[in-house]
């Protein structure tokens, strides 16, 4: 079954008000299988609220969230969980669960609370760990592995859920540069395998590198949207974040395309943006105006 391009998740004209204030207004986003849609915006622009609406964790004040054409609010949590998985920002739970057990939580959606998991579920969990390249961590405590490894574990759990739509809250936050690039590559591979990914990010260069579609949010409304090359411009960055930046798009994408190997040294430092005022630029490779 080729689902490419079919609209998996549609957010239609969403408004969300909290304590009389509109957090989101008239926001429409559509995500298809095989697509990566990135949300960009300053802190408080409404990205997290939009993700929570897309997951059905909160209901909109008006508008609709459609999952494969069906309104999400009529589905049970378990039904939603079989289609949409959430990859939150990494955090450390209070108890030292094994990495394998964390991934096994993904099978709850399939089995329900009362049916214990069987060998088939364990096989799925192990395969997902294998796929994300973290199978060797299975018996380690989730609380003791690195942030990047935790992120991969959470993605493995999302895959174990059997969902085809992944909602990610700033997946690269807190990762070192190498882990960021590796993670972005994983996301692109997943999209190539027909997963639909909706993510928020604080890095315009990450959005540029992996997205098929970018949505710029400012103060709860969509500023502009479209393919990254048309949306992520110096002018858009200025309006979103209030800083001037030269945009040299595709730099990270080029780095990823250049046969990125896990242990290979980076020949060029990929730079997406170079700030020329008010910011600190540590990247070389593209020049600012000063």
């Amino acid at each position: 079954m080729d689902l490419t391009g079919a609209s998996a998740l549609q957010l239609c004209d969403l408004r969300f008000a909290y304590r009389g204030r509109d957090v989101l207004r008239g926001v429409s986003v559509s995500l298809g299988y095989g697509e990566v849609v990135s949300l960009l915006g300053a802190n408080g622009a409404g990205k997290s609220t939009l993700l929570r609406l897309a997951l059905g964790l909160i209901g909109p004040s008006s508008g609709k969230v459609l999952l494969d054409g069906q309104p999400i609010e009529r589905m049970s949590r378990r039904e939603v969980a079989r289609h949409i998985a959430y990859v939150p920002q990494t955090h450390v739970p209070p108890f030292p669960f094994k990495v394998f057990d964390v991934v096994m939580l993904g099978r709850l959606a399939e089995r329900g609370l009362f049916r214990p998991p069987g060998p088939a579920d364990r096989a799925v969990a192990a395969e997902c760990l294998e796929r994300l390249g973290v199978a060797h961590l299975a018996r380690r405590a989730y609380t003791e592995i690195s942030g990047g490894e935790r992120q991969l574990t959470l993605i493995a759990r999302a895959l174990a859920q059997g969902a085809r739509i992944l909602i990610m809250d700033e997946p690269a936050t807190g990762l070192d540069f190498g882990h960021q690039i590796r993670l972005l590559k994983r996301l692109r591979d997943l999209a190539a395998d027909n997963y639909g990914i909706l993510m928020s990010t604080h890095h315009p260069d990450h959005a540029a590198a992996v997205s098929t579609h970018v949505v710029l949010l400012k103060d709860g409304v969509v500023l502009s949207e479209g393919p990254p090359s048309l949306t992520i411009t110096s002018e858009a960055i200025l309006r979103l974040y209030g800083v001037r930046a030269n945009v040299a798009p595709n730099a990270i994408r080029d780095a990823m395309a250049a046969g990125f190997e896990d242990d290979a040294p980076l020949a060029t430092a990929p730079a997406g943006l170079c700030l020329d005022s008010g910011g600190v630029s540590r990247f070389s490779g593209s020049t600012g105006e000063n």
Partner: protein
């Protein structure tokens, strides 16, 4: 193909290892409980060896003939005097430890104990009121039980008034409810007759297994066992809850009903223990930590392990309470004195896993 082949062998190794080790640990814990119960049966004023107990068991099953006076004596000591205590310690220890583990999972905090919602304060107030009203044993127990549930109910109600099922609101609601019932308890103590009623209240609140009867145990056993099984059965949902509310819901878990269901079961169990034996502290707080060191944090295995270790600890505490001095010590005091060094030991071993 290669991936799935390695994945399969990998699963196989994990599975055989974990089921085998769980089985071994489960059997070891069950054996430990049985041994502790036997030891507790043999311990007391009247000297009784394991041989005597075995002889009595075989005789009552009809395998061995035993002289009538001897049989009656053993029946009196073992069944009428010691068995209620041993069963009470087992049941109460298991109930407190499991409700502690459940509260810790639901509140996503390893330092939570069964009185976080004010259950113990409420039950203590209920019992004290019972003594004020004349001190009939049944009235005291029923009031303790009902007020324990009421205190937790008030805590949850306050939380719902402000923040739904959010953890911080439940903690604050429990604090308020606990403080309210603690104040009421002080009031009852103040009003109580200082010569007759006050000492009874004070002693009762220190906890004792001395007055538990087999018939009381009969009606308390079913809800406690049901609570343990239910909480163990919901273990994987509790694991998901530990990751955070949004995450658990996105994993398909009905967070609010799971949280309130488990709170209800755990509250029922801890209120029952208070109505049977008074306030027995610390067991619910530190036994789950010991259990986590033994079987890991997954709630479906942690729950039965907590039950077993709670039972063993309570049997040991009761044995000490009975034998340490000329008079029996209140068991609540013993669990507290034993619990503190045990908890320090656990902290020093497991610190890195929590903080």
């Amino acid at each position: 193909m290669l991936i799935s082949a390695t994945a399969m062998s990998f699963v196989f190794s994990i599975e055989s290892r974990s089921t085998a080790s769980h089985l071994v640990r489960g059997l070891a814990l069950a054996a430990l409980v049985a041994a502790a119960m036997l030891a507790a049966l043999s311990l007391g004023r009247y000297p009784l060896g394991l041989g005597d107990i075995a002889q009595f068991l075989l005789a009552s099953l009809g395998f061995v003939d035993l002289a009538k006076p001897r049989y009656d004596l053993l029946f009196n000591v073992i069944v009428e005097i010691r068995l209620p205590r041993v069963l009470a310690a087992t049941l109460i220890g298991a109930a407190l430890a499991v409700s502690g583990a459940a509260y810790q999972a639901v509140f996503r905090n390893p330092l939570v104990s069964p009185d976080i919602l004010g259950v113990l304060s409420g039950a203590a107030f209920g019992a004290a009121t019972g003594f004020l009203l004349g001190g009939d044993q049944t009235v005291v127990e029923i009031l303790a039980f009902v007020m324990g549930l009421a205190a937790a109910g008030v805590g949850v109600f306050i939380a719902r008034l402000f923040g739904g099922a959010a953890i911080i609101m439940l903690v604050l609601g429990g604090m308020i409810s606990g403080a309210f019932f603690a104040a009421l308890l002080s009031l009852v103590k103040f009003v109580a007759d200082p010569y007759n009623q006050l000492p009874v209240i004070v002693y009762w609140l220190m906890g004792s297994l001395a007055n538990v009867t087999l018939s009381q145990l009969g009606w308390a056993a079913a809800p406690i066992c049901f609570g343990i099984v239910a909480i163990a059965g919901l273990g994987r949902g509790l694991d998901a809850l530990a990751m955070g509310d949004d995450e658990a819901r996105a994993l398909g878990v009905p967070v609010a009903s799971l949280r309130f269901g488990v709170i209800a079961a755990a509250t029922l169990m801890s209120a029952l223990t208070v109505s049977l034996a008074g306030v027995i502290g610390w067991v619910g707080l530190f036994i789950p930590h010991v259990a986590r060191l033994v079987v890991g944090p997954s709630n479906s295995t942690l729950t039965p392990a907590s039950a077993a270790l709670g039972a063993v600890f309570m049997l040991a505490a009761d044995a000490l309470a009975r034998s340490i001095g000329k008079v029996e010590l209140p068991i609540g005091v013993v669990t507290q004195l034993l619990g503190i060094p045990a908890f320090l030991l656990v902290l020093s071993r497991a610190r890195r896993n929590w903080i």
